[in-house]
């Protein structure tokens, strides 16, 4: 916590921070209101941001692992020519909550394994992360139960916590973060400010109404592949894919080529996919490894419990998005509860 230094700031200081990012050539994204929801969007003023947001529709993964991404252009002449382009720019993602910070760390771990996703890595290297301790939790949040929040200790360049109205503790998480903060001449944080943050975190921890117990589920769920909960829940499941699309750690993608009308040139597209879709596990000649809805639902839940091929890279971080956006009110914490014999 604030090992590399910490400062205090007022709202206009945060505006100066945004200006400093812009001066350094960064495009800043932050949580803004969209109707009754929130989205990470380009911002230039701190007033555009809603620092009281609960959760965005899409997690920050949309900026690091875009829903649709042109990974290269190709030409078919005598041979096969490829023109790679990651199309990377300097960005700041401002205001990421602790659960989503943890999710980015998981994405980082996953995409840096061999074979690395070079575009992800290029994008990630040019991204500054500004975390934001939540101001409040809602009835769908359960990071506290999983230990992925509400306090973040890693995964950010800068971490902001509102410790009283319009007054913020600004902690440093990396040398890049420190370099930018140094230019602002902010007052150093004192023990009382850390104490205020500690109290805020304590308050947050006592406000959770949703709990989840995923302990040991990775093994347990694998032993209960025939549990009736899978089939029962699948009767409600629409296989709409919302849960995985909005999940901050669901990275699964599809790759396809799109040719132009010369039929000699085209692009290869990487597009976010969902294991809930019938086509996801389809192979040549119409074979399908997960034809049944219950198999697909079970697969996703096992994945969130840390039991699928993705292991813990894709396990749940407790943001609550899949619960919010499930039209059929499927709640993975309730399924965990049933599996554990509750």
């Amino acid at each position: 916590m604030g090992e590399a230094g910490a400062f205090v700031a007022e709202l206009n200081d945060l505006q100066r921070l945004l200006d400093e990012f812009t001066k350094h050539g960064y495009t800043v994204y932050g949580p803004i209101v969209k109707g009754k929801s929130w989205v990470f969007s380009k911002v230039s003023s701190i007033r555009e941001l809603d620092l009281n947001y609960t959760r965005t529709i899409l997690p920050p993964k949309k900026l690091l692992h875009p829903v649709k991404n042109r990974i290269f252009d190709f030409k078919l002449n005598d041979g096969f020519e490829v023109f790679e382009s990651c199309n990377v720019k300097n960005i700041v993602i401002f205001g990421i909550h602790p659960c989503d910070l943890r999710a980015i760390e998981k994405l980082d771990e996953f995409f840096s394994q061999h074979p690395e996703d070079v575009c992800y890595e290029a994008r990630r290297k040019r991204t500054l992360i500004v975390g934001l301790t939540c101001n409040a939790v809602d009835e769908k949040c359960f990071c506290n139960s999983l230990g992925t929040g509400p306090e973040a200790s890693t995964g950010f360049d800068i971490l902001i916590t509102q410790i009283s109205d319009g007054f913020f503790l600004v902690e440093v998480g990396s040398s890049k973060g420190l370099d930018i903060l140094k230019t602002l001449d902010l007052a150093e944080a004192k023990p009382e400010h850390f104490e205020a943050k500690r109290k805020h975190i304590e308050h947050l921890k006592s406000s959770f109404t949703k709990t989840a117990d995923f302990e040991g589920l990775a093994t347990l769920a694998k032993d209960k592949l025939d549990h009736k909960i899978w089939v029962e829940t699948a009767e409600r499941c629409l296989s709409c894919g919302n849960c995985s699309m909005v999940c901050p750690v669901c990275y699964c993608f599809d790759l396809y080529d799109s040719l132009d009308l010369t039929l000699k040139e085209g692009v290869r597209i990487m597009e976010l996919d969902s294991c809930q879709l019938l086509e996801y596990a389809e192979v040549a000649l119409g074979g399908n490894f997960r034809k049944e809805r219950s198999q697909r639902l079970r697969h996703w839940l096992l994945c969130k419990f840390g039991a699928a091929g993705g292991s813990t890279y894709t396990s749940c971080i407790g943001c609550g998005r899949c619960i919010v956006y499930c039209p059929a009110n499927i709640d993975l914490t309730e399924i965990a509860h049933v599996l554990k014999g509750g």
């Binding site: 629409l238 699309m245 010369t262």
Partner: protein, 251 residues
Amino acid sequence: MKLKIGVFKFTSCSGCQIELLRINENLPGLLNLMDFQNWTMASSNVQQGPYDIAIVEGGISTPEGIEEIKTIRRNSKLLIAIGDCAVFGGIPSIRNWMKQREAEDLVYPKPEHLKSMKVSSIDEYVKVDVYLKGCPPHLDDMLEALKAAILNIRPRLRQHPVCIECKFYENECLLTTYKQACMGPVTAAGCGAICPNVGRTCEGCYGPMSNPNVKSMVERLREIGLTDEDIMRKFRKYAGTSEYYREVARL
């Protein structure tokens, strides 16, 4: 060698052909690959088949139509059904749920001259090679189908629900957040979520996705206050006679 194409229309509004005409900047590229030999909407210069590809809009609703579609099939190597009317019967098939003479009386002062039957998808009578859902199907899907036909590969057509495209655009969820009767979770994507993009619910115009959970969708619509009659109308609108929707549309 350019492919010989014929474009045909049965019981429908011609909107699918209009969408195909929207080809504009793609036209020169397309004309390098194919020769539209029979497309009365675009040219009065009509050549009879055989064709490499028949593009067919509309459902079948007359005895003559049956003969005609069979002739087209015989004269074409590949048959692409474009739009809900050709694929499911489409909007005209709403009248399938009432007596034929009642429907006729509603529209025509002297229906005794009509020789009309219930509306069918074209695959009721002939084999269809490629189905392009939509009212109308997106031009990109039509181009994808044509390119795939030339390359002799399977076209990449989205069969997953509109929800996926909605998330691509990060639209607010009309069903979960606003409790509106959005058909997205059962409807095939391909439109680019154009209705939710402007804050309107999905009307279901691409028909059923690859395996919709219709039973659960009916429950969701009931939960937000729709009557069974409202729900029946929603499922009847574009693809009421389809295998997946038939049961609810009959309600």
